[in-house]
Symmetry: C2
Subunit: 224 residues, 2 copies
Amino acid sequence: MANPPVNYGVVLYPGFHALDVFGPLDILNLLALQRPLNLYLLSSSLEPVSTKPPATMKPSSTGPNSDFGEAIVPSHTFSAPPPELDVLLVPGGLGTRDEANTAPAMDFIKEVFPRLKYLITVCTGSALVARTGLLDGKRATTNKRAWGWATSQGPAVNWVPKARWVVDGNVWTSSGISAGIDAAYAFVADMYGEDVARGIADASEYTRCMDPEADPFAERWGVV
Amino acid sequence: MANPPVNYGVVLYPGFHALDVFGPLDILNLLALQRPLNLYLLSSSLEPVSTKPPATMKPSSTGPNSDFGEAIVPSHTFSAPPPELDVLLVPGGLGTRDEANTAPAMDFIKEVFPRLKYLITVCTGSALVARTGLLDGKRATTNKRAWGWATSQGPAVNWVPKARWVVDGNVWTSSGISAGIDAAYAFVADMYGEDVARGIADASEYTRCMDPEADPFAERWGVV
């Protein structure tokens, strides 16, 4: 590709799912050792953003009395984003279940989308984007266990049930959690070359799923 | 298992490798929704810890002019750790290449090890631990691309070349980066039951490598 992406952004909100972010970013962290890339981590404020769902959601994100989560430091706010963003990554997570919790992220995605070269979602990140209307009429996929809820967030989206990931124009959507890793390798292969993607996967000791239609989890979770 | 682990700690130092931490933690994040678990993120200070190698290492961790990395917020310092730690996870990463950079982590690991139920390393995390002498005489594995350097950090370790992960007593060591995910699933299966591990893998849409000796990357990187 002639001018592959240089500037990557990631949308963060309370209750994002860790691997949705760090699966793809780990690949890009390694790519950034080979070629100049910039990463921007965006959120409502510069306060660290936790994988724990917000306290206001607690009854609906039930669990035992665990204290377990990680917090990442944003580099930019949605209201003062970097001047250039080529790719925006939108993770899923329990935090997507509360529309108010993701409203600032949704507003930012809607506003920035026309200036992006690519939008990538992982897991229920596509449900969050679907709520903005940006996926209407597009082919997209999402988490298979959360299929019913996630697809209800975008009734006008052409949801693809059996897919590890789906590409429609400049929008890449992947299935649940780990699927983001395979989608990110496919994206890197497409943008920078298959040899680059293979090199990173070998260094990461990762055996890729390279077929976007190979999806045993559609059957596992009864998604037809 | 009668009293499976409850309190997990992770060692953080500048230049840790993101997926070494977030591969296993993502599994535990999901486990923590099912049963009470606590997570402690430990470092030299409470300042956020970046995946970027420290500036002092720059010439040896060469790359182009990228600005790409993520910073996590520690919950505890090595000098004031939580009262109980059942499991300690030690990631690898470029930061391990500088012994001074990991000295505080090494001191902490050496001090806390006798009180741990389990020690888990990912990638060159085992090289870091090997430098403390704690792996001497034990079977262990490490990153296959970095095999020569990593194994030189512990000449008295019984390094296993072809292994996705290795268990010796209460020490679990895994191969490079992504191998930590499969080792963590095996650990969860061992501690909490195979049904629990399978449930999390299905929810994560992850196809596990369940054979600790299945390691195509030993051959890929010429490790005999």
